[in-house]
């Protein structure tokens, strides 16, 4: 392949984290507060073939919907870039965009305590697929009426899933939620390695 020898700039390694939760909970706000670029929007057309839901009862054959998502970028180093994808909250079929969840390091589920039920579907989605996640409780105007433990209990979340109070508008607050997710991943990886050290096994 003569063509491949001519490349001089190496493409960076890429990883992604999903920012999920109900409509209007602050997903794009969080992406925007930590991203080095203004969040970009891209979309995908999904064909829903005979999906068994009430909404589509009576609609025969296929039904197409367009799902849009916003995303941002954090350059970790010259050779590593982290992408943040805000999953669409208002369309019911975003989860059919398989590429979204596939290969994600993990997810942040944002929660609005005034309307927690709008984020239940996202929690179920990641639990069922064994995708690691933390819950970020986005305070309305930074206000937090409930302590994290109470929220964890109400959501019936397992011990290892962290619940953090945050303000998606604040860069540092959003960053801390992402760091908590990575710490949770590091802890899980260290546990599964069994040795309790932070060094990878010898190759």
């Amino acid at each position: 392949m003569a063509g491949s020898d001519t490349i001089t700039r190496a493409a960076p390694d890429t990883v992604k984290i999903l920012i999920a939760g109900g409509f209007g909970v602050g997903k794009t706000t969080m992406v925007g507060s930590v991203s080095e670029i203004t969040p970009l929007r891209t979309e995908e057309r999904l064909t829903l073939a005979s999906v068994d839901v009430d909404d589509l009862a009576g609609i025969e054959e296929k039904h197409a919907t367009t799902v849009a998502l916003d995303f941002g970028r954090i350059t970790i180093g010259q050779d590593l870039v982290l992408y943040l994808f805000g999953t669409p909250g208002q369309q019911r079929f975003w989860f059919m965009w398989n590429d979204l969840a596939l290969g994600a390091l993990g997810a942040v589920v944002l929660l609005d305590v005034r309307r927690p039920e709008t984020s239940f579907a996202a929690i179920d989605f990641f639990e069922r697929r064994n995708i690691p996640f933390v819950v970020g409780v986005n305070g309305f105007y930074g206000d937090h009426p409930y302590p994290p433990d109470e929220i964890r209990e109400a959501l019936a979340l397992p011990e290892h899933v962290q619940v953090l109070l945050c303000d998606a508008r604040e860069r540092e607050s959003s960053r801390d939620v992402l760091i908590a997710l990575i710490d949770q991943l590091i802890e899980a990886a260290t546990r599964s390695n069994g040795a309790g050290r932070l060094t990878p096994p010898d190759r």
Binding site: G3, R9, A11, V34, I74, G77, L82, F85
Partner: protein, 118 residues
């Protein structure tokens, strides 16, 4: 594939892909990085206008999702055009870091350090 040179911006997206709706390769994810091969291989044929736009955008490495956003086209449409460009030797594609059940601690630590610097 005649008529490619006359395809402008005012065409329905799938007209850009010769009517195909599925990529011939499944190796373009949202965060696959694509880079134009420069100079193009000697056997390269003249790219269509939309392909030309892609090549301009990815003169520097660029993720598929960013490319789709910049072109204002659905991801699946961009992926089909990228398949053609890859087959024609006009771009290279780097897949994302593989994520498995046994995560790479080195990588996680790197991400954590990077976030800490924000």
């Amino acid at each position: 594939m005649g008529g490619g040179d006359t395809a402008g911006r005012l065409v329905r997206p799938f007209a850009l892909t010769g009517g195909r709706t599925r990529p011939s390769r499944a190796d373009f994810t949202l965060i696959t990085t694509v880079t134009a091969v420069d100079p193009p291989p000697v056997w390269a044929t003249r790219p269509q206008p939309e392909q030309q736009r892609i090549l301009r955008h990815c003169a520097e490495p660029l993720a598929v999702a960013e490319l789709a956003a910049l072109l204002d086209l659905p991801v699946s449409v961009v992926v089909i055009m990228l398949c053609d460009l890859l087959e024609a030797g006009r771009i290279t594609a780097r897949p994302p870091h593989p994520v498995s059940a046994n995560p790479d601690l080195d990588l996680l630590q790197k991400v954590r350090d990077g976030l800490g610097r924000l």
